[in-house]
Each structure stands twice: as structure tokens, then as C-alpha cells.
């Protein structure tokens, strides 16, 4: 049921974007051909692209292709959209996975410390940092990081010189600064959620009971608090990963990172519909998958979901 709804969500968002792009002024065919296009040439290109068919049938035929893994051809580069977006996706996934792996780990630890030491010094420091992280846009963080860690102290590359086909080994040295910029923003929310969640759970009756049972602090934290504090945090992490795409656009453009964000801006500007559609599908898919994963995580952590109540 969840899966069906998820697919529906992905489809609907694709329809929305498709409709929106359809309403763009100007005709893709004449854009491709440029100023001096003759009406005959425009007509020919329209025919080639199938632009003279009604929007619905074009969408359906795109959908038919998509179902078989054929997402069409980029109107700009003439390459297979699948290949082009795929290449960018792999790069963005590298950036995202590093960001998530480091960011989430740091955030969970800091959030936990903050929540457990509520209103004490470490909490105040961590909470303030998180607040600042939430309040400074990615482009500022990225700009400052470049200035400090590439130009003043040349530790990391300022931009990515490798192209879309770069191997992971080639990209790896350049991935740290963009990742750091994203981590700053991503972890702020996760820290806060983890803190709130830990505080909530720590105030619960069962944690009080666990304390009164004479349990050690470590046992209370890891056995009684964390399993219940995690699911809401997982949700926030899921939402943040979906949001990461927004930050990725800005950060990738600053670092010349050959990923989905760069491709997204370019294809919106050139109204490269097939590329935009595939990016939309992927983003919506990410959104849905992240939510499903968070639910799955909550399911694994929460026995109430794992074992629906039944008579004993």
C-alpha cells in the first residue's frame, strides 16, 4: 500500500513538473534551431521531437519509455538522458553519501550529548552552533570555506576540475569542501531533532523508571533512551536528505561539482524537458525512498510497529 502510494506520488510530481514546463513560453523546437530557423525547419524538428502531438500523448509515450528505462534524449546534448543524468547522479550520490555519513554521525552524537546535558555548557554551545548552522545559507558557508580552506590555507581544491565522467578517485579530493558546506546545514536540523527527541524520551515515565531501577547511565542512554529517540530523528534525516537536493544545487554550482544540481540548473535554463523530468522522477523517488527508509527504520526500532498487538 505504501509502495503504491509512493509510486503515485512520484508520478504525480512528474505530471506537475511536466505540466509546468509545458506552460513555458516559447517553443522548444525554435529554441533548438535558433534565430534563423525557417518555419519548415521548425516544423521538421517539431515532428522529430513529437512536439506536435498533444501533451497528454507525449507524456504517456514518455511514461511508456520510462517504464522500460528509456527516459528519452536530451534536447541539448542529444545524448541519452538516462546516461547523462545517471553520470551526474553517481557524482551527486558520492557527495551525498559522504555528507550523510559524516553529517548524520556528527549530528547524532552532538544531538545526543546536547539532549542529555540539557542546559549545561556543552548543550548551550552545540545548540548555538546548530542555530547558526540553520541561519546561514549554504552559499555563504561554501564561499567562506573556499576562501579559508582553498585560497588562504590551500588544503582543498576550490573547484572540481574533473567532469561528469570522473572516477570516484578523481572526485574524492574535491568532495570534502562541498560536503562540509552541506554538512553544516544538514546536521543543524538533525542535531536539534535529536536533542529534542532525547529530551522528550528522557522525560518519559519509562526512563524515570529505568533510572529508579538503578541502571547505569550508559545503559539508560543506549538501551532505554536511544531506541525511542531515533525514529523521529530518522524522519528528520529523511526529510533533510530530500532537502539536500536544494543545497546541492547551490553548493555544486559554487564548486563546479559535476552533479545533479548543476545539471538541474542547466536543464531548467535550457528547458531540456526530458532531463528535467528524469531529475524530477529521481528527486521525487529520493523523497519517497527516504521517507520509506525512515519508516522502515522506525519500524525496526519500534516493536509496536513490528509486532502489532495481539492477544497473548
Amino acid at each position: 500500500m505504501r509502495a503504491a502510494w509512493s509510486i503515485f506520488t512520484v508520478l504525480l510530481s512528474t505530471v506537475l513538473v511536466f505540466t509546468a514546463i509545458q506552460s513555458l513560453p516559447g517553443d522548444t523546437a525554435s529554441r533548438i534551431l535558433g534565430q534563423n530557423a525557417t518555419p519548415e525547419a521548425v516544423a521538421t524538428v517539431r515532428l522529430q521531437l513529437g512536439l506536435d502531438e498533444p501533451a497528454l500523448s507525449r507524456f504517456l509515450s514518455w511514461l511508456g519509455g520510462a517504464a522500460h528505462g528509456d527516459f528519452g534524449t536530451s534536447l541539448v546534448s542529444g545524448r541519452s538522458v538516462g546516461e547523462e543524468v545517471g553520470g551526474a547522479l553517481v557524482n551527486t550520490l558520492l557527495l551525498a553519501s559522504i555528507t550523510i555519513a559524516i553529517g548524520v554521525t556528527i549530528a547524532l552524537v552532538l544531538g545526543m550529548v546536547s539532549g542529555l546535558m540539557r542546559d549545561k555548557k556543552p548543550d548551550v554551545i552545540i545548540s548555538t552552533l546548530a542555530l547558526i548552522g540553520m541561519s546561514i545559507p549554504e552559499f555563504v558557508v561554501a564561499t567562506l570555506l573556499v576562501l579559508v580552506f582553498s585560497i588562504y590555507i590551500p588544503l582543498f581544491p576550490a573547484v572540481v576540475l574533473a567532469g561528469q565522467e570522473a572516477t570516484i578517485a578523481e572526485l574524492l579530493p574535491s568532495v570534502w569542501l562541498p560536503a562540509a558546506a552541506l554538512i553544516c546545514v544538514l546536521s543543524a536540523y538533525v542535531i536539534r531533532m535529536m536533542r529534542t527527541s532525547v529530551i522528550d524520551v528522557a522525560e518519559s515515565e519509562y526512563v524515570r523508571t529505568a533510572v529508579l531501577k538503578g541502571n547505569s547511565t550508559a545503559r539508560i542512554v543506549f538501551k532505554h533512551v536511544l531506541p525511542s529517540a531515533m525514529p523521529p530523528t530518522l524522519n528528520v534525516i529523511a526529510m533533510n536528505i530530500a532537502w539536500l537536493i536544494g543545497g546541492v544545487v547551490v553548493v555544486e554550482s559554487i564548486f563546479n561539482y559535476p552533479g545533479i544540481g548543476t545539471l538541474m540548473i542547466r536543464s531548467v535554463q535550457t528547458q531540456d524537458l526530458p532531463t528535467i523530468l528524469l531529475i524530477t522522477v529521481l528527486s521525487a523517488f529520493t523523497f519517497v525512498i527516504c521517507n520509506l527508509l525512515a519508516d522502515l527504520g522506525a519500524f525496526m526500532l519500534n516493536p509496536r510497529l513490528r509486532y502489532p498487538r495481539s492477544a497473548v
Binding site: L24, L131, T143, V249, I276, T280, S283, A284, F287
Partner: protein, 294 residues
């Protein structure tokens, strides 16, 4: 009692309550203080600004901070202080109008969805989920590409992008209120949906809506500045903070204030909004982190 009476009563009570809530929380005090300061500075910008924010001065380009230009000038000789002060007007107006519209629309949709339930709720929820599934930045870029840039378009784009999230949160809050017996009593009296929403439900989710507003406003501000930075937002020579950063970031080493001033302004305003949201949610007893899920 008429609707007007009811709302007057609600308002007359809600307002001092809100003020008390703010006063109770030091966090909220600082937050609202920062916001108030920004509003004040933005309103007083014409009085405080030493120069026209868009006036070029060929004789004073890239000036260092001096008595004449306390924060220096940019590459066109425009006074950074004046531009930063006026920048608040643009940031506040655009993001507050956009947020207000998004929160209002989202709350109404949320009220209807939660109250009607069943298929209406399902459809609304699913459609909004789909909007949420499209990354905000992509949606914004598409809207701006379709309609062009300009404040109205940005407001429209933000409303489209943020209404779904607001709806999600407010809907959950309304769902929490609906099972209350006073709603049951109103239903049993045979009151209509809008009457119940206006009289009984919204006054009780006002806290959440307020916190939501402060939080969204901070996001909207971040997003708008990012758009300006990417070149999709304000047109030059509009004194917009994001645009100022984009224009001057290459000069960080020679004219740092041209970049730092708008950053500081933007960051303090957003910190203010966040603190206000924090403080409000604490003293109004709203679980703010729920918002993040929207």
C-alpha cells in the same frame, strides 16, 4: 454571537497572551528583539542611510570603511551601509508576504483536509506530498523560468513550494484538536465546517501556526537569498542581501564588508526568526521539531 464578535474576542485575548508568552521566554525576547530591530532598521532605512542605495559613485569605488562610507563601497561606488539597510526592506517584505500567504493558504487547506477527512483528505494529502516531492529549488526554478523573476513571482513561487509543508504541519495540529470534546460539542450543535474551524479549531492551533510562520519565514528568507545568489531573484541594482553577496563575494579579500554586511544582516534576521520560533514554541508548548518534518 457573530463571527466578528467571536474573532474579536479571540484576538483580544490571544494578543496579550502572545505578548506574555514572548515576555516569559528570554529566547523569544532576543528573537523578537532581533526581528523588531530589523523591521525598525528597514522602516528607518530612508532616514538612516547616508546615500541612495542604488546611486553609483565613480569617484568612490571600492572604498574602505571611512567616515563618509562607514562600511565602504562596492565596485560601483554604492554605499554598502545604505544597501544593507535597504536590503532589509526587500528581504522582509518579500519573505513575510510570501510566508504569510503560504501559511494562510496552508492552514485553510489543512483545516478543510483534516475536517473533511476521508477521500478529500487523502486527495489533498497526496497532491501536496507530490508537490513536496519535487525539490523546492527545482520548483522555484521552474516557476521563475515560466513567469520570469520579480518580487510577485518569487512570492508566488514560495507559496507554491511552501504551502504543502505548512498544510502537513497544520493538518496534524488540527487533527490533534478535532477529537477534543468541545469540537464534538460544536459538531453536535450542528455547526458548519467553517464555523467550527474559525471558532473552535484555529484559535487552538494558532500557537503552531505562529511557530510555523516564524520557522517558514526563516526558510523562505534563506531560499530567497539563495535564489538571488544564483541569479534568479532580485534584479540589480535592487539592494538585496543575496544579490549583494553574489555581486561582491569575489571581493571578499579587498572589500570584505560588501559581502560580510549582507551576510551578517541576513544571518541575524534568520537567527532572530529561529529564536522567536524556539522561544514561542517553548512558551506556547509547541513541539517545534515536528515542523521540520513538514
Amino acid at each position: 454571537m457573530t463571527v466578528a464578535e467571536a474573532s474579536v474576542q479571540t484576538r483580544s485575548r490571544a494578543f496579550p497572551r502572545l505578548v506574555r508568552s514572548i515576555a516569559r521566554s528570554p529566547t523569544a525576547c532576543v528573537g523578537f528583539g532581533l526581528i523588531f530591530l530589523h523591521v525598525l532598521l528597514a522602516l528607518a532605512a530612508p532616514l538612516l542611510s547616508p546615500y541612495d542605495p542604488i546611486a553609483n559613485d565613480a569617484m568612490a569605488t571600492l572604498s574602505n570603511p571611512t567616515g563618509a562610507h562607514p562600511l565602504g563601497t562596492d565596485a560601483l561606488g554604492r554605499d554598502i551601509l545604505s544597501r544593507t539597510l535597504y536590503g532589509g526592506q526587500y528581504a522582509l517584505v518579500v519573505s513575510l508576504v510570501a510566508t504569510t500567504l503560504a501559511v494562510l493558504l496552508g492552514s485553510i487547506i489543512a483545516g478543510i483536509a483534516a475536517f473533511k477527512g476521508g477521500i478529500v483528505d487523502d486527495v489533498i494529502t497526496r497532491v501536496l506530498d507530490s508537490v513536496l516531492a519535487v525539490p523546492a529549488i527545482l520548483a522555484l526554478l521552474v516557476v521563475i523560468t515560466i513567469f520570469g523573476s520579480g518580487p510577485q513571482i518569487i512570492i508566488l513561487a514560495v507559496v507554491i513550494v511552501f504551502t504543502g509543508g505548512v498544510t502537513r504541519i497544520v493538518r496534524a495540529a488540527v487533527m490533534d484538536v478535532l477529537p477534543n470534546d468541545y469540537i464534538t460539542a460544536a459538531r453536535a450543535r450542528g455547526e458548519g465546517m467553517f464555523s467550527i474551524l474559525v471558532r473552535e479549531v484555529f484559535p487552538n492551533v494558532l500557537d503552531i501556526i505562529l511557530v510555523e510562520f516564524a520557522m517558514r519565514a526563516s526558510w523562505v528568507m534563506l531560499l530567497i537569498s539563495s535564489l538571488s545568489f544564483l541569479g534568479f531573484g532580485a534584479n540589480p541594482p535592487t539592494p538585496d542581501w543575496g544579490l549583494m553577496v553574489a555581486e561582491n563575494r569575489n571581493l571578499l579579500s579587498i572589500a570584505p564588508w560588501a559581502t560580510l554586511a549582507p551576510i551578517v544582516a541576513l544571518a541575524t534576521l534568520i537567527v532572530g526568526l529561529n529564536l522567536a520560533a524556539d522561544g514561542l514554541s517553548k512558551s506556547l508548548g509547541v513541539d517545534r521539531m515536528k515542523d521540520v518534518l513538514g
